[in-house]
Amino acid sequence: MTRRDPLRDLGQRVAEANRAALAERSVLTAVRCRLLATPKKRRHAAWPWSLAIAAAASLVLLALWWAWSPARLNYTIEGERIAWGDRRATLGREIGATNTARLVRFSDGTRVRLAPESTLRVTALSERAAQLLLDRGTLQAKVFRGGGRWRFLAGPYEVVVLGTQFQLSWDPAGRVLDLAMHKGRVELRGPVVKRLAVVAGEALRVWPDQGKLELMPRKPRPAVALAQRPQTSTEDAPASSQPASRPSISGARRKARLRKSALPTPIVVGKPTVSAPVVARQPAGATTPPAAASDLSSPGAAPLAANHAPRRSAIDRHALAQRFYGFARAGDFRRAAEQAQRIGWPWLSAQASNAADLLMVGDVARYSGQAATAKRLYNELVERFADRAQAAAAVFALGCLAMDHERDYAAARQHFVRYLASPSKLAFVVEAEGRLLETLQLLGQQRAARQQAEHYLQRYPRGSHAQRARRLLQGK
């Protein structure tokens, strides 16, 4: 006897019920319509069009990129055209001029004329600039600056072109670099000079192995132009001859440029950062400026020294300014003042970009005995950096100058009161309180002096002016 499975019976009854229900609720017709109403090909008909549109868009983008991308540089040498696509073959290739000069023309308009017995290589090309290596000899370059940065390599040096026309020479045997600027500006990078800007009209010779640097100034301008310009240098001039207001920075720079253009001066600089032999080169007809160090010995000679300050280009002034700050930080104010005298006090003050530097310049002037210069520098500091702590220190220094040099006790009292009222952190407050007491005594204001003496003794019983305050209170 077979054994019946109850689950099979149950399943059959469920299936029968489902079949009967499907006869009434079948969705075959609806699904058939849905299924067959959508042509199969139509579902796939869109992708070729999408592909075609995408391809067309890519072509358009490629054409736009090709049209708008900057033209890549190429160059010709004596009629020989070298296209960008051949850059692997042309980059690093030696371009030599044996007996006659050769002209290298770049597609952006740059011209490089290679002197005889010279060798040049183009080591890099981009859309807007190139890098050239001068193995030996001399080249004259007229660079078209279209936004790129041209570089010329010569020995250990790199000339970054910021301007347009110059001449560059490199002697690999003697290891001497010559650079003469005709127009614009370049930055020379390498040993001895580190980073040095050379401007139009200046020439430079560097011996990297000997650490020597020789700078030639720009050529003098016609005397007519000089005569039309007023001589307005008022550095450390007497108060009566000074203008009412401090000359602006732009004015100082303009005057400095005027002086530079007026008096051609040979400029000889040793190694700017380390001590190095100094080699002088005197151009014919140039006059040597008076030595400034001797003028610094007496305060009375300071205006004369300032008026005859050597006229220097901005290039060596930066180097000298570095030496000035080095001496000043080391406390060697005499030598710092010598450097400042060579550079020019207005130039130093105009170049001081922060209050600390300007205070240092003023301190050097004060400690070297140039009271008028120091006063002007301190006033400039108070004016430019009024909210800095260095401005308060300058006010105190002005009080000291008024008290010690000018004997103007009223002005000194005002400066000390102003200094003590300053919200900045006061480094000389004890000294200022004592000097205020002293000025009150000298002004004959006995009542105010006694009050200041009591105040001083309360706060600083062991201060340097304590004995003076006690004597005042005791009526001695």
Partner: protein, 216 residues
């Protein structure tokens, strides 16, 4: 065994006009139909649906019961079959292949329901029409699918194919794409679970009591 050649049913002209499809006649066995589908014969999809639509619909209903989704699922099964016809390896097993697609589609549907059961409202199980069965049968059918819903998907599919659809073990294994041993193990497990639950159910208790004569 060579599959039996089935005549192509002529579609209703009104349906054809409504759907905009001009059916072209197609005759041939499953192999010829599969080849025609691959070649893109314009009448082949209709022939496939007309030939196996009812079978697939039955499988689907037996697996899932009546709910609001079976129309979409049926459409999905045939759409997938038409798209993947090139994956059919044995043209003579077209029916089994469609059955396996139906099982896969039902499995996906059940898993989707389980995955989103916290976020989606469960598809309401529809009662059978009054005209097709008595109240006791309708109630028993409803309880069967209610118990199946509590089973894991694979056990449920195996149970439904074996006991409701009435397929052989080998057919069930092929439809579920597992080995025969695996399907036997699943069926045993599903049977135990279902019997345990059905004996405690008032509507099904009398259905699953073994026949006393048969036992003797």
């Amino acid at each position: 065994m060579k599959s039996m050649v089935m005549p192509v049913r002529t579609p209703d002209p009104s349906q054809t006009r409504a759907s905009g499809v001009h059916a072209l006649g197609f005759t041939g066995d499953d192999s010829a139909l599969a080849r025609a589908l691959r070649r893109g014969h314009p009448g082949a999809p209709a022939a496939l649906f007309d030939r196996y639509g009812r079978h697939v619909e039955g499988v689907l209903i037996n697996l899932l019961g009546f709910d609001g989704e079976h129309e979409d699922l049926l459409h999905e099964i045939f759409a997938q079959a038409l798209t993947c016809i090139n994956k059919l390896q044995d043209d003579e097993r077209l029916k089994a292949w469609l059955t396996s697609i139906a099982v896969h589609t039902a499995r996906s549907c059940l898993r989707r329901r389980q995955r989103f059961r916290l976020f989606l409202r469960r598809a309401a199980q529809q009662d059978l029409p009054v005209s097709v069965a008595d109240a006791e049968t309708r109630r028993a059918v409803g309880r069967v699918y209610r118990l199946l819903e509590r089973m894991p998907t694979e056990l449920r599919l195996a149970f439904a194919l074996r006991f409701i659809q009435g397929m052989e073990l080998t057919e069930v294994a092929a439809a579920c794409d597992v080995s025969l041993a695996t399907i036997k193990r699943r069926l045993a497990k599903a049977r135990r679970r279902f019997m345990l639950a059905a004996r405690g159910d008032s509507a099904l208790a009398s259905w699953v009591v073994p026949d006393q004569e048969g036992q003797r």
